[in-house]
């Protein structure tokens, strides 16, 4: 039995070295700072989790507990939409895996981008389906052999950052699980951003797709690291600069794009409420009077 501080009977734990440990730590940092700055209690935060190793973060969260919703596979975004638009005052964070978010959950990204839903999604991309033991995911590299692609993956892999940018996500950051402090910064900035924020994290799966070596590279052997820091002079307000960063390939680290000009859905609804007043059921009933 592993257990958590809160729940001695809880019996799930990530594999040793799993990237998700770092992501959890980063989220804990970000949320703690968020609460302190605003002097708000932890229960003003809601973590909506996908199904996968990644989603189990919601149970493994340490210290004071936020609210959590661990729903069904692929539906973290619409659940989060429900929470956020029901209670615009809450800080709503999604945690999900690449399979959950980009395969079965794919349909939900575009609408939230169009709406500019004011939540922050933290995606743990390990390029594999961890919890179901190693099948290929949309971000699995072409030709890779996995249990579900015994003769190599026959699909090109999806570039999620490019997709987010095209769909109009208004805050796009890319991070790495081994750098929880940096990652915490990216997440917190995403929470602060008024609109749809996605922090896409490379969070390696030590059991089925261990990419640590690739990400880090190996100077001695002359292997360039996949991960690279976005330079300070990158203009994250420029869509074309953002596209440029993405097109350089590899795993850029930092804020890729941020558009503060578009109002978020709750802000737009607020504007409607100023123009239009609702009527009581009694009033509405009377419009049908004989």
């Amino acid at each position: 039995m592993t257990g958590t501080a809160k729940n001695p009977e809880y019996d799930f734990l990530w594999c040793p070295g799993c990237g998700d440990f770092g992501v959890r730590r980063a989220l804990e940092f970000a949320m703690r700072d968020w609460n302190i700055e605003r002097e708000i209690p932890m229960h003003d935060n809601v973590v909506v989790a996908g199904i996968g190793c990644s989603g189990n973060l919601v149970h493994l969260y340490e210290g004071e507990q936020p609210y959590g919703f661990h729903g069904i596979h692929g539906r973290s975004l619409p659940l989060a939409l429900g929470v956020k638009m029901a209670r615009e005052d809450l800080n709503v964070v999604v945690v999900a895996g690449d399979g959950d978010f980009l395969s079965i959950g794919m349909e939900h990204i575009a609408p939230q981008a169009s709406r500019n839903l004011n939540i922050c999604a933290v995606i743990m991309d390990n390029g594999v389906y961890g919890l179901t033991k190693g099948q290929s995911s949309p971000t699995t590299v072409e030709d890779t052999v996995t249990s579900s692609t015994p003769y190599g993956k026959l699909e090109s892999s999806l570039n999620p950052l490019d997709l987010y940018l095209t769909l109009g996500v208004t805050y796009i950051a890319s991070g790495y699980s081994t750098k929880p402090r940096d990652l915490a910064g990216l997440i917190k900035r995403g929470m602060e951003h008024d609109g749809f924020s996605i922090v896409h994290v490379n969070s390696p799966c030590t059991t089925y797709n261990d990419t640590y070596a690739l990400l880090k590279g190996n100077k001695a052997k002359g292997i360039d690291p996949l991960a690279w820091e976005i330079p300070d002079d990158h203009d994250s307000t420029s869509k074309s600069a953002a596209r440029g960063v993405i097109e350089q390939g590899g795993v850029p680290l930092g804020v890729i794009y941020q558009d503060d000009s578009r109002p978020s859905l709750d802000q737009r609804l607020g504007a409607v409420r100023e123009r239009v007043t609702g009527r009581s059921a009694e009033d509405l009933l009377n419009t049908f009077a004989v």
Binding site: P66, G82, A86, H108
Partner: protein
């Protein structure tokens, strides 16, 4: 000329000829002066044009179904004439444009009125409708000023339109001045209570607003779309949200998120969308989140018959998802009940903290009818018991219902669609699966609905459900008048069924269930609960006709005891 208590008029033609609004106008005008009226509409799926017909039943006493054979057919074109003439009963009238050449029907009276020609004379070519109404006012012996008053009110401020329409009414009337009315409907008795004239979908929407709905999220689909449109327009204000979803899966999951966040939330859809919501509904059951899912049934299966009525989604409603669950189901059976059932659905969802399915159907959704205006103050509204304690609350500790923690307040926990322990953490331990399963089912005990009965001492009974209520009630009354000893039962609460109702039904030798599906779905449910139930089914896309249904019930009673085929 014999006086009669009611009259049924059908308007048939192409979409775009005013067919759709004609029945509603007749009914609306009639209720304005004190008659009771109810409409029935069936649309083509084509956007413009296409064969369509609507019907109004106008009566001195309250009516509950579209009725039987028609008294007057208004046929706007040749096809409509041929399609519908056989449904006019002997002695009935067919009102035609002279462009249609009628067959010689001895037992029918054909009356021609040059709809379009007279309309043109008014300077408003779209007034063909009104010409027809003018003619009708003569044929059903209803003072034309009823219609004029209605027009004045409807188009208040648009004097030219009012004038043209008044002229059209006069022209139609004048054209048939010499024609004998079909009968005298008699003076209406204006009810001494307040009334509304409303469609099922609107009644449902207003019911949701009365129940305190705060969050609506839905995807367009016939015949549920009007609920989305109504909500988008009217559910506005601080803390309120009405929005079009990108799919039914997004819709159901969204309202669950809102339910979790403490809101009264609802979505409305029809069969195909309902099926897509199955996984979400299972989640709401598992995580114990209040929400209301409306299924305005149309013909099924698959894309099915989008513009026809059917009651074939009951099985799906009773088991929308895998695993052990028993989602509460309430079915509206009339326009009033569209209102009431919605309030009940919210109350149940709040009370037991879980999803509630509300069934309506195409024929109710589009039925416009005068009903007593619901006395809102007298219809209680419930809200969930919110947790008000400190942090450290164990949401799922008890074996029974427990106060509901709302994010933003103390009591943080994890709502979980996996089997969970008392914290909401995922677990695989048998003890928790047993506890939580029993907890989820145990909460259903909080939901005890009511039912109605009549002549309950009879050993055989009829129990319709949903929108077949009206036809069945009228059939029942005919049978009783004819001296048949049969009991009547009815409830909106299909799951859980009222326990006392079940006890009564179990004591009968035969329980007949008229329902608009092939399988006899409700009868099968009743049999599984120990009732000797047999279905009378119809799967035409249209409602039962009361008299025909009465005949079928009589035949069934005559054959009682004989083995009955069961549609698997």
């Amino acid at each position: 000329m014999a006086s009669r208590s009611e009259i049924i008029v059908r308007f048939a033609g192409e979409g775009g000829q005013g067919v759709v609004t004609a029945a509603e106008m007749l009914a609306r005008a009639a209720t304005g002066v004190g008659y009771h009226a109810l409409t029935f509409a069936t649309f083509p799926s084509q956007i413009l044009g296409g064969p369509t017909w609507t019907q109004a039943r106008v009566s001195r006493t309250p009516v509950e179904s579209p009725g039987d054979a028609i008294d007057i057919l208004v046929a706007f074109n040749d096809v409509a004439y041929h399609e519908h003439r056989t449904e006019v009963h002997d002695g009935g009238i067919i009102l035609l444009d002279p462009s249609v050449t009628p067959l010689s029907d001895e037992h029918l009276r054909c009356v021609t009125v040059p709809f379009d020609e007279l309309a043109k004379q008014t300077g408003e070519s779209r007034a063909a409708n009104m010409v027809v109404m003018g003619g009708l006012s003569r044929l059903i012996n209803m003072p034309v000023h009823y219609f004029k008053d209605f027009v004045s009110q409807r188009f208040a401020g648009r004097d030219k339109v009012v004038e043209a329409n008044h002229i059209a009414l006069d022209l139609g009337l004048a054209h048939l001045a010499e024609e004998d009315p079909i009968s005298d409907l008699g003076e209406p008795e204006k009810p001494d209570y307040e009334q509304v004239f409303i469609k099922g979908n609107d009644a449902l929407s207003v019911g949701a607003l009365h129940a305190g709905i705060e969050f609506y999220f839905g995807y367009p689909i016939s015949p549920a779309t009007p609920i989305l449109v109504y909500m988008e327009r009217n559910l506005v204000g601080e803390g309120k949200f009405a929005y079009q979803a990108s799919s039914e899966i997004e819709a159901i999951t969204g309202i669950i998120g809102a339910g979790f966040a403490g809101k009264k939330s609802m979505t409305a859809t029809s069969g195909p969308g309902f099926t897509l919501m199955g996984e979400g509904i299972g989640l709401a059951w598992m995580a114990e989140i209040p929400c209301v899912i409306v299924d305005v049934q149309r013909g099924g299966p698959a894309t099915g018959l989008p513009t026809k009525t059917e009651q074939s989604d009951l099985n799906a409603a009773l088991s929308p998802a895998h695993g052990d669950s028993s989602i509460p189901v309430i079915a509206a059976g009339s326009v009033d009940e569209c209102f009431l059932a919605t309030v009940h659905a919210f109350n149940w969802a709040e009370r037991y903290q879980g999803p509630v399915i509300l069934l309506s159907e195409h024929s109710l959704a589009e039925r416009a009818q005068n009903i007593a205006k619901p006395d809102l103050a007298a219809i209680p509204v419930e809200s969930r018991n919110v947790y008000k304690g400190e942090n450290g609350y164990l949401r799922y500790e008890s074996q029974e219902i427990s106060p509901f923690p709302v994010p933003g307040g103390a009591g943080a926990y994890i709502a979980n669609g996996s089997e969970h322990d008392i914290y909401g953490d995922t677990t695989h331990l048998a003890k928790y699966h047993i506890q939580m399963t029993e907890r989820r089912f145990g909460k259903l005990k909080l939901l005890e609905g009511t039912y109605e009965s009549d002549n309950a001492s009879a050993s055989v009974a009829v129990i319709p459900w949903g929108g077949s209520k009206g036809s069945a009630r009228e059939a029942f009354q005919q049978l009783r008048s004819a001296g048949v000893d049969i009991a009547w039962y009815y409830t909106m609460f299909l799951n859980p069924l009222p326990t006392a109702l079940l006890d009564e039904l179990r004591s009968k030798d035969l329980v007949i269930v008229p329902e608009l599906n092939y399988q006899g779905q409700f009868a099968s449910v009743l049999r599984s609960q120990g009732v000797k139930a047999e279905a009378i089914t119809q799967y035409t896309g249209l409602p039962f006709r009361p008299t025909e249904l009465g005949e079928r019930i009589k035949a069934r009673l005559a054959g009682a005891g004989q083995p009955q085929a069961v549609n698997a």
